[in-house]
């Protein structure tokens, strides 16, 4: 237990030292995130950075997800860069709700899927098939009912997204219903910001 406490103190000291340096402070994420589904594997996790853009709260998340061969037929590694902009925020008693527009760039490393095609393919024969875009509409929720427990830093979210190819097919053809191609993901965000600023978490 004592060694655990020592380790925690060391981590906090290191965080504060790094945070004191303005360059490194920019590299430190202000939140961590984990997500279920959403074309990012079964579970994906990563780090995120919050900033303000055009007076709106904006987030950039870098995430990694994985699907093993036993479930997907082959190993799939998914790297995701997700950008979100808050478009609406309101409170309902202890419940805070944020609505965001998001855009994810998904890079999947898996079988017969390439960023640049092997040499035996003529140049430009195929588009790279490892990348996908996924726009989504996100709803984040924070519930903080009691002043005894501070849950301000914990947000759960759900995203309604559509993969670029699904969107393209839905627009291109009458045979595909856009609603049938919407996907849902659930996630959890934990904001670390207060830890660095010295506020109680």
């Amino acid at each position: 237990m004592k060694s655990m406490n020592k380790a925690m103190i060391l981590i906090i000291i290191l965080q504060r030292v790094i945070y004191a340096d303005s360059f490194f402070s920019k590299l430190i994420p202000d939140h961590i995130v984990t997500q279920f589904a959403g074309n990012q594997g079964i579970i994906s996790s990563g780090i995120g950075y919050s900033h303000e853009l055009f007076k709106r709260e904006t987030n950039t998340k870098i995430m990694y997800g994985f699907m093993p061969e036993s479930i997907a037929g082959t190993d799939i590694h998914i790297f995701c860069l997700k950008r979100s902009t808050c478009i609406n925020e309101y409170k309902l008693g202890a419940l805070s709700v944020k609505t965001s527009l998001k855009l994810s760039v998904l890079l999947s490393i898996t079988e017969n899927t390439y960023i640049s095609w092997p040499e035996h393919f003529p140049e430009g024969y195929y588009f790279p098939n490892a990348f996908h875009l996924q726009p989504s509409l996100g709803f984040s929720f924070n519930f903080n009912p009691s002043s005894n427990i501070n849950l301000n830093n914990v947000w759960i979210y759900t995203d309604l997204g559509i993969l670029d190819m699904h969107l393209y097919h839905s627009i291109k053809t009458d045979r595909i219903n856009i609603l049938g191609n919407i996907n849902l993901s659930l996630g959890l965000v934990y904001y670390l910001q207060d830890l660095y600023s010295g506020d109680d978490v």
């Binding site: 589904a37 699907m67 997907a72 037929g73 898996t110 709803f139 097919h169 045979r175 919407i182 849902l184």
Partner: protein, 287 residues
């Protein structure tokens, strides 16, 4: 609220406006939250919402090994009519043109003399499961059996294993009376630049005295077959009653007894007629 009341004493009409505005705001907020909850419930009540990757092989259809089942259906249909006198349609390269495929399927359904359909490959753009599912949804509307062979696009990602799950092996044959159909997987580049199984083809081409219909996605003059053109030509050159059907180029080419179909969007459908040992064809335009 206290502030509003105190201001209201000074200006009652202004106070009323503010109270109404506050009430409106609260109501809108409540409606918004209800809408969000309703939306969440209605969406969650649907199925297949949680998607993990477009590249996985978790097919949302029960169809498995469809070629084998459809071969049985073809043989049943032909045994009821004639195994030596029948017609079949050739289609290929539908990719993601589902509207056009739907029109072609309707046209085939209206032509009662066509007993089955052969799909000569490229039913997807990127070999992804939802592309296979979308095409299959259209093909299942055919009133007659259909046989599909694999195309180069169908090989991408996990396409080959998805194809094998849905349709079965990529090299296969079937016979109807004295007519033998050889479905040959000649995909090279997308198959890790592997040589097609010419030994299998050689064995299947030999020792058949009736008509042979050789179906493969890529015609030998196409670039992916350039390394194997001579070997392929040497295999087929002395085979009598051999008819070859291909897709891939998206351009219709009539080099009878070899036909190369065009992409589905052009809606040009070769129909092959078999009458005993005689084989002839017509090119139909579907509008």
């Amino acid at each position: 609220m206290l502030v509003i009341i105190s201001q209201g004493e000074a200006n009652p009409s202004r106070n009323k406006q503010k109270v109404i505005k506050t009430l409106l705001k609260k109501t809108i907020t409540k409606i918004k939250s209800y809408l969000i909850i309703m939306l969440a419930i209605s969406i969650l009540s649907g199925c297949n919402l949680f998607r993990f990757s477009p590249y996985d092989d978790d097919l949302q259809t029960d169809v498995r090994n469809s070629n084998k089942k459809n071969i049985s259906k073809i043989l049943t249909i032909l045994s009821e009519t004639s195994t030596d006198s029948f017609a079949f349609a050739l289609i290929s390269d539908s990719h993601s043109d589902y509207d056009d495929l739907h029109d072609v399927v309707k046209w085939i359904n209206n032509n009662k003399n066509i007993k089955f359909t052969l799909f000569l490959g490229d039913q997807t753009d990127f070999g992804l499961k939802f592309e296979f599912e979308n095409t299959l949804k259209e093909l299942k509307e055919l009133n007659i059996p259909f046989i599909t062979i694999i195309g180069n696009h169908d090989y991408l990602s996990q396409g080959k294993s998805l194809f094998e799950k849905l349709y079965g092996e990529t090299n296969f044959t079937f016979s109807a009376g004295s007519n033998k159909f050889i479905c040959f997987d000649n995909i090279v580049w997308e198959n890790n630049n592997k040589k097609p199984d010419f030994e299998w083809l050689r064995n299947e081409l030999n020792y058949h005295s009736g008509n042979i219909f050789l179906l493969s996605h890529i015609p030998e003059e196409s670039e992916p077959m350039s390394d194997y053109r001579l070997e392929y030509n040497s295999l087929i050159e002395d085979i009598p009653n051999l008819y070859r059907f291909h897709g891939h180029t998206h351009r219709f080419r009539d080099e009878w007894p070899k036909l190369t179909t065009c992409e589905i969007t052009k809606k040009i459908i070769p129909v092959i007629y078999v009458q005993g040992s005689a084989v002839y064809y017509s090119i139909e335009e579907c509008e």
